[in-house]
Structure formats: C-alpha cells, structure tokens
Amino acid sequence: MNVVYTDVLVIGGGLAGLRMAIGAKRRGHEVMILSLVPAKRSHSKAAQGGMQASLGNVIKGQGDNEDVHFEDTVRGSDWGADQQVVRMFVNTAPKAVRELAAWGVPWSRVRRGDRDVVINGKKVTITERDEAHGTVAQRDFGGTKKWRTCYVSDGTGHAMLNAVADRAIADAIPVHERTEALALIHDGSRCHGAVVRDLVTGELSAYLAKATAIATGGAGRLYRVTTNAVICEGMGHAIALETGVAALGNMEAVQFHPTGIFPAGILVTEGCRGDGGLLKDADGHRFMPDYEPEKKELASRDVVSRRMEEHIKKGKGAKSRFGDHLWLDITLLGEHHIRHNLREVFEICHHFLGVDPTRDLIAVRPAQHYTMGGVRTNHTGESPSLKGLFAAGEAACWDMHGFNRLGGNSVAETVVAGMIVGEYIADFCDRPGNDADIPTGLVREFLRREQARLDVIVHGSGTEDAGAIKAQMQEIMTGKVGIFRTGRDLEQAVDGLQKLLVRSRSIGLKARAPGANPELVTAYRVQRMLKLALCVAYGALQRTESRGAHYREDFPRRDDATWLRRTLATWKGEADSLPTLGYEPLDITRMELPPGWRGYGAKDYTDHAATAPRQAEVEAAKEKIKDRHELQHALMPYEHLLPERLRGRNERIDDRFAPAEPAAAGDSHEPLFVREGE
C-alpha cells in the first residue's frame, strides 16, 4: 500500500489552493498540494480583467468602501448569497490586494493628473488626485457602483498566480504535479485524505491528512461551449459528491459570460466593456441601452447574457457559418489603450479570430463561464456534514456569489477565501482532538475500491465510448441547461443524462497501454461528470423560479416566498441515477440587505412575508445610527466570524489612520502581518 502522510492535503494548485496552503504552512503545519498540472498553469491564470477590492484610489472609485462592495455583491447574487460571508469577503479583499502588492504583484498604478477615458460611448477627461499617485488602480466592471476592480493590465490572474505560486515555492510547499484525487477517504463523518492517481505512471496511492481541502475550480467542461480550461471538469466537486455525505450547494447556478469569442468560446475580459467597449448587433446598432437603460453594457453578467440571447432570438445577430453572434466593439478605446491595458485580448483576437481589435469588431456570444455551485461549507470553509473536509474558491459554495457572481469577485474570492480558510485549517489542525487516527483497513478498502473501478473500465466487457458519451453530455447541457431554461427542456435533459449515466457504467477502452492512458482518464471522469450534470439539470428542473443566472422561461419571476433557499445535492448510493435534493432556507430576519430590486434586470418578483418587517427594522436602524460601522454592526454582526488576525478596518486615501495608531478603536488583537518566507 502506497501511503503518504501530511497534516494538510490541498487538492488543487490554483490561487485558492496555494493561498490556503501558504496560510496553513505559516502556522507550522506540513502541507502538500496535489495538482493536475504545474501550479502556474491552473485556470486562475485565465482571470484577465481584475479583482474587486474597495480601495477607492481612482477618482471614479472615490467614496467606495466595504458597504458599497457588500451591496453590489448581494444584489449581483440576486439575494442568494450568505450575507455574513459577503461581509467577511469585502472586508478582507483590500487586505488581499495589499498582501499581493507586498508579494510582488505588479498591480497597475494610478498616475496623477488628467486622462481620457471612455464612458457610455463618449470620451471624457477625468483627473486623478495627487495623493493617489502610485497607489493600486481600479477599473470599471459590471454590476458595480464604483470603479473597484484592481488589475494588472489584462493579465491579472496570471500575475497573481505567478506571485502566489512563487511564494509557495519560497515557503517550501511541495506541489505534486500530474496527480489526481479519485476519491476522498472517509468513514461517513470524518474525512481522512484521498486516493490519488499518478497521471504519469497510472499508480494509486493514499494521501492521509488531518485536514483535506478541495480547491479544484469549476466544472465548465460539463458544457460544450465554455470559456473554461480543458482541466475544469469539476473533479473536486465530484469526489465530494461521491462521499454521499458532503453536499453540493446551488449546482443549478451556472454563469454565462457575455463575451466568449465566437465560436471557440475563449474569454475576452469584461474589462473590455468596463473600459468603455460596446456591444453591437448585425446592423451596428448598440442595443444594450434599449434593454438596460441604467447599466447598459455593465449590468451584471446574467442580465447582459440574457439580453444578448434575446436580441439574437429577435433576428438581430450577425450571421456566420457557425451560427449567429453579436459584436464587441473596443475600437473606440484607441490603439494605445488596447496595446497596454488589453494586451491578452489583442493577442487572442489576433491568433484565434485573425482580427485586429484596434480596427475590427470582435465576434462574441455568451459562453458558460463560472460554477457558482460547489462543495457546501460553513463560514470557516469546512463542510458542515463531513468533518475535516474544507473547500475554497470556485469549487466551494461558501456562499458569497449566490445565483450570480459579479465580474472581478471570483479571482478575489480565491485569495480572500484562501487567507481565511487557511487560518481555519490551521486552527483545526491545532486542536488536539483532530489528530489523525486513521484505521488502515479503511484506507486499504478505499484503495481497493478505486482500483476495482478502474479495472472494470480497463479490463471489463464494456463497449461504450467514453469520448462519445462526454460529447453527448456536453451537447445536452449546452442545448437544454443553458441561459434560457424550461421545464420541458430540463426534463429531457435529466432523462438524457440518466441514460448516459447508465451507459457510462459500461465504458470499454480501445487503448490499454500502461501509464497515464488519456482514454482511461476521460472514462473515469465522464462517469463523475454525469453525476454533476444531473445535479445541475435536476436542481434547475426543481427550482420553479428565476433567480440570477438561473432563468426559467416558464417561471420568469424571482419567488422569495418559496425559493429563497439554497439547494443541497447529495449522492446517496452508487446505483442511484439522481441526486437527493434538500434545501436550506436563507434567513431574511438576519439580513443586512433584505431582498429587493437589483437596480438592473426584471423588477418583477414575489416578496417573502419576512421582507417588509425586516426592511422596516433596517430603515429604523438607519434613522437612529449614523456611523456606518456602528450601523453595520447593529444590523448584522460578522467580525467574530473572521480569523482574529484578519480583522480590522481598511485604510483609504479618504479615511486615513493616524500614523502610529492601531487600525480601529477597540482593536486589541494582534494585527495580521505578511512575513518574509523562511
């Protein structure tokens, strides 16, 4: 039996996994990271436009703070988010940017004086303040009241990943590249690690740990058309689901990004529109103001994507041999801006479309982009039903995005959740009761079971083709579980996916050579992906309302009275062909921001009985308490949920701390410092 022991096993080498690992390691715990690919190739790399943090350095961000970021995020989520978690997030995001600044991320910086920008299709001159010169700059993004998205040109995720991956090397954290977790080892209540396959030799090992953390990103490859990297197949989601104990939250909440290049689906950043780019139709008409007069191109992604598809349905799409699409026009931003702030966009247009975006329009159509659903955790990042299992980033349902995530909030979540959950993992490992006490019989049984599952595929009598099953699954998801959903389509999708699931149990291989065997990889992954696809489709079928990115044409209203609750999917038995769904209500009486209109999109929704009384309480508190921090605390205390070292207010140009004073009155705890690696 190949067995490896560690304190903390992190599955996934992207930003969330790396940052959790660094946090736990710095608290004195041994950490190992498993990654399908070298860490710097993780999909975090693909985040282009930036990360939201309410620094308020640029003039168009003046007046920004945690409160504004909080409200934007909750409205963006269509009230599906856990508001306490959102508060934890918005208070930590500025600290994360500043930590990364100290670690070497070359954030784009503010230059004092006049500059020309494009706002609402027009050139405008704005003047940056002297006192902001050299601080981290922000750009505009969808669904935000202020310019809040901190960026490194349009390679933000790339630069962040470089800095954090190199910091992990500085901290001597091993990354076991080309390894894949096939199953979590658990006894029904406690997680003990994972069965891991070496993707070079094909051999299985058991990695045993006090704490196991999933940070495997999204599951975009359930769909045929996606911006996601080819490794984003949701395997972290799947191994959690296959425990039968851990639950996946809100898997039906799937985001479609407005600007995937057509037809390849490769992303061009929301920064294109944030910086002033426009969406146009076949006639060259700018159509978004017709639908969304308030936010236009910069409504939230779910709304813009729906409006685009709606416009195409009206026959206004540009025709091509691959189908209809719309145009993204960034020519008005000028060559200098594109060459400096939208470099990746320039390269992508050049290589994949053969066009020059300084002169030509970019063919775009919405494409699957983000998995809001994930391993359900509490605010510490731990699964409430499987002790010792943690999750962070896109793989988790923490849940700060609810039914729609704002642009710039995901790459922000990776590092913020990494900071917070990393501390909680360290706390977990510090508690004496959590020492590893793992029965070897259990480990042997899990290794045997996983080897047997592989052997059935390699040596069994099955004849089904794994690649074909995968392609059919992706076709069903893109065709019937997309931007516009109906009961009829979803029933057909569930039916089709169930048939594929049954067929996937009889996959046979054409190639049996030893080693990694890519065909075998496709085979065991598609078996798991189908379970996730069923969580998405079946969850969407049951949810008879429209909320955020989940839009039912047959139930177009948001229904708070019935559906202000989170879907929890578990997979009880290996022979099951459907997930078991449960629901977890969101408590309006404790919300800082009770449900209402988002400020864009439909104004039509069914109120919950608790909304009006809570709204009255909130109004009364606002009358009585004028200090924003006191008011926030009175409405929904959250500071106690943050690790002590991450608490404290954030300094801004317009809210300076006294030179040698601690951050906020009453802050008696030890502040968080970034330390040099050993």
Partner: protein
C-alpha cells in the same frame, strides 16, 4: 501571422506526423506515426490533436490546459520549431505537419513533457520571489506606492508563461544541463527591476554569475525569436550580462 489571401482551407486534407513513445510501456519504442485529417475552418493544433485522440487514436498523449495561449502547457516542436500548439493554425503550418515533444525536458509520453519539475528547480535555485524589504507589512494600511511606468515595466517581464520554448530552442541548454535558460535570466531581470526586492547585484551575481547563468549564453538568441509572449529577451540578457560583468570585476 495570418496571410491575407489564403486559399479555401475547409475540406483540405492535412497530414500530421507525430513522434510516438510511451516510456511507461516497456514495449514502446520511439517511432513516427502519421494521421490524416480533414482541415476545418479556423482549425488549430489543439483542435486537430483533440480530433485525432477522439476519432483515430485515444492513446495519444499531449498537454493542453487553457487552449488560449496564456498558460504555456502546449509547447511542442512544430515543424522543428518550438511553439504553442493551441494557437497555431493548421493552415499556417500545413498541409504536412511534423510534431515532436520539446527537447531538454523529461518526456512524459508522445508530445507531453515535464516542464514543471524543471521550472520548479530553476525557481528554487534563483529564488524567484520578492525578497521583502520589511519583515512585516500591515495589511490594513495603504499599500506602498510605485510609479505606474515601473509597475508596467515589471509586468512586461512578468508575462513569462514558463512554456519552455526558449529552453527547447537554446544551444547552451542542450549542452549544459544546469543552464537556467532565458526563462531564468528573464526572471532575474524582473526581480532586479522590482524595487520591492531587496537583493543587490552582488546577490544576483551569486546566482547567475557563471556558465550556468548569464555567461553560459552564446548569444544565439533563438529564445528571443521563439518566445510566444514576445518578451524582450535579447535586451534583457544583454543588460543583465553587462551588470554581471561589472559586478564580477568589482
């Protein structure tokens, strides 16, 4: 890169000659294998290789991650030249295309090589992280300022995707196993430029002031021509060499 008058490409037959070898299989011997495909509109080597694996040979090994030219996974020898397969259009390199794994790096199988172990070793050796000025930074306070032009200049060197093309195209790397390559020298240039890093030229001289560092470079500069991110490797290597010569003479 794209030619204005390309003949109709759809339906044209293309032929991919691919180096095959699976080191995990004791029976495997290195060989060439040819695959014929029908070219489709906008076909990249990512699309072509995926199609081969789906329809012709499911055992074919290769590495793609982002398939958008930003992650550096798919470096391979394309008609004898290192490049990123995901953004190479078949019509620009075909109809007869020869693919081989990148040299220098350990072969995983077929077109897949292990650049990760090489890059990690290089990073550990050159300590490719900011060696911070202060032991402690208060995260609640306004960040330290940096000139916007300097931040952009650092980012330009930080755009390296560690694809390995510069190493695969390097004469010195073929001869010296421990040569840090243009990727390593560029990283030194990046951290040297970054005011947050406290290291001095004396420190950098310790790291790259020898034949496995900047003095190993023979100035053939294929790295500069091959870099998929168009990093200014030629000027950076020349600049670093001047600084290191000066340091060595002190």
């Amino acid at each position: 890169m794209s030619t204005p008058q390309t003949p109709p490409v759809t339906g044209q037959k293309i032929r991919l000659n691919i180096v095959r070898h699976n080191p995990a299989d004791p029976d495997s011997v290195p060989r060439m294998q040819a695959f014929e495909l029908e070219q489709s509109e906008g076909m990249t080597l990512f699309i072509a290789l995926s199609e081969i694996r789906e329809t012709l040979d499911p055992s074919l090994q290769f590495d793609f991650v982002c398939r958008a030219g930003i992650c550096g996974s798919c470096g391979m020898m394309i008609n004898g030249r290192p490049g990123l397969a995901c953004r190479t259009l078949t019509r620009e390199v075909g109809p007869e295309i020869t693919l081989a794994p990148l040299p220098v790096f350990k072969l995983v199988g077929d077109l897949s090589v292990d650049t990760g172990t090489w890059m990690r070793a290089m990073s550990e050796r050159l300590e490719t992280w900011v060696h911070m000025k202060q032991a402690e930074v208060d995260l609640r306070r306004i960040e330290e300022r940096m000139e916007p032009e300097l931040a952009e200049a650092v980012y330009l060197l930080d755009r390296c995707i560690e694809c390995g093309c510069c190493v695969a195209g390097c004469g010195t790397a073929r001869m010296r196993e421990d040569f840090v390559g243009a990727v390593g020298l560029n990283k030194i240039a990046r951290f040297r430029l970054d005011p947050r890093d406290t290291r001095t030229d004396e420190d950098y001289y310790e790291l790259i002031g020898d034949d496995n560092g900047v003095f190993g470079c023979m100035s053939l500069l294929a790295c500069h021509d091959l870099c998929p991110k168009d990093l200014p490797l030629q000027t950076q290597i020349a600049f670093i060499r001047r600084k290191m010569v000066r340091e060595g003479l002190r």
